[in-house]
């Protein structure tokens, strides 16, 4: 009788063991069910947002006078792309007012995602290596502040948002030799994009105009790229000796990016609608 009882307990323990494994499997299934579908939906949304943003930037109208409003009935209004072409035509560069108008338009169109995502907007001319050039580069980065957590022997670092929460920069400006597509793309930009994790990208071909030295108008093939990624620290870390965009603080981009002073699209008086 004792042996029968022992056998019944053993059977029950085997049953409990099987049920435990089954429960663990079900629990794991419940936790992971739908994650890949949600990720795909999220990726699709980000790519759709990037594509729509690029179309919206390129289709938008703006005032020729950077200080005027688009709703001002007396303002002279034109397509933003037309103003870019016109400004580019004479010296194959964009002037500061045009950069500000474009930067402001980009910031406003991308304002719904500016707290979560960082982005780069680039216009590059196409052609052979010598002709390739960065015409315009606008970088939006979150102002992370690095803080050491005071736990001895742990070396934890946290990154919290500072004030202001973001910085915007016009980069690849200055000397032409320092802003060629080749030096940027192969070094700084490629390194950044390959280290920031998943990105959402959109690209479009556009045509710019140029006036040759003999006065004849010509066409320049160009490409517009918008790259967005989850806001992350782009400076140095214990595993990364050289920062991706800055070293110690987001306020000071690396010299190789040739960035100007931070641009505030809502405060700059020279860049209204």
């Amino acid at each position: 009788m004792n042996q029968k009882g022992q056998a019944a307990v053993t059977d029950a323990l085997y049953f409990l063991m099987i049920v435990t494994f089954l429960s663990i499997f079900l629990f794991g299934f419940a936790n992971s069910y739908g994650n890949s579908v949600k990720q795909q939906i999220n990726d699709e949304l980000n790519v759709t947002f990037a594509t729509n943003a690029l179309k919206t930037i390129l289709y938008s109208s703006t005032t020729r006078d950077p200080g005027a409003s688009i709703n001002d009935p007396d303002a002279e209004i034109d397509y933003l792309a037309a103003i870019l072409k016109e400004d580019f035509a004479d010296d194959q560069e964009l002037s500061e007012p045009t950069r500000k108008v474009l930067g402001k338009t980009i910031s406003r169109i991308l304002s719904p995602i500016e707290d979560n995502l960082d982005y780069i907007f680039i216009i590059t001319t196409a052609g052979n290596e010598a002709e390739k050039k960065i015409v315009f580069m606008y970088v939006h980065t979150t102002n992370f502040v690095e803080e050491e957590v005071p736990i001895s022997g742990r070396g934890y670092t946290i990154y919290r948002a500072g004030t202001p929460s973001h910085y915007n920069f016009f980069c690849a400006i200055g000397e032409e030799s320092e802003s060629t597509f080749d030096s940027f793309f192969k070094e700084a930009l490629t390194r950044l994009v390959s280290n920031i994790g998943p990105t959402s990208e959109a690209s479009a071909k556009i045509k710019l105009s140029k006036i040759a030295s003999d006065g004849e108008p010509g066409r320049v093939n160009a490409q517009v790229d918008l790259i967005m990624w989850d806001a992350t620290w782009l400076g140095t870390t214990p595993d990364r000796e050289n920062g991706l965009f800055y070293a110690e603080t987001p306020l000071t981009p690396l010299p190789s990016w040739n960035c100007g002073e931070p641009f505030d699209p809502e405060a700059d008086p020279g860049a209204a609608d």
Partner: protein
């Protein structure tokens, strides 16, 4: 000797019943949890797909030629298994026009063009004026619903000016 410990057919198997019952309780608890998680995720994905369908229809090619174009896109949305309000707003892009930059989805004000047409599309009744999201779904109502929000950049042609705006889609169930 053996008969002295015998306390009946059930009493003798009582120790083995304990792990059996623990196993059954554990299994059915996990099964219920899994079923609920499965059901919840399916509903979330269904809602996301419905919102995606509405968004894609209204976005068209990201260029709205005017109110008639928007109204025809709105008709194409058809029947969906979720309540929604979708519309275009210039608050994020043209807020030097006197609008305040929108901080909450409930404060979104839809764009009204030069012919006084408001770019809004909904299968739900508005409590008040049709140009505010909070008149379709208030903060209090949103507490008892699952709310999904999507925003996409878009341009609208108004008085031959191509204005950058945002398409807001707010759906709830």
């Amino acid at each position: 000797m053996l008969a002295r410990g015998f306390i009946g057919p059930i009493g003798d198997d009582l120790p083995s019943l304990i792990p059996l019952l623990v196993g059954l309780v554990m299994f059915f608890s996990t099964f219920t949890l899994t079923f609920n998680a499965f059901d919840h995720t399916n509903r979330e994905v269904d809602n996301d797909i419905s919102v995606m369908r509405i968004s894609r229809t209204l976005q068209s090619n990201s260029y709205i030629f005017g109110y008639d174009n928007f109204a025809s896109l709105c008709e194409r949305v058809g029947t969906v298994n979720i309540k929604y309000v979708a519309g275009l707003s210039s608050q994020g892009t043209l807020h030097s026009d006197g609008y305040e930059n929108v901080k909450s989805i409930f404060d979104v004000k839809f764009f009204t063009d030069s012919e006084n047409d408001t770019f809004v599309c909904s299968n739900s009744e508005s409590h008040d004026s049709i140009d505010l999201v909070k008149n379709y779904l208030s903060l209090e109502e949103s507490q008892s619903n699952t709310v999904v929000t999507r925003i996409f950049p878009i341009v609208v042609e108004d008085e031959k000016i191509v204005k950058p705006m945002h398409l807001f889609v707010v759906a709830w169930k």
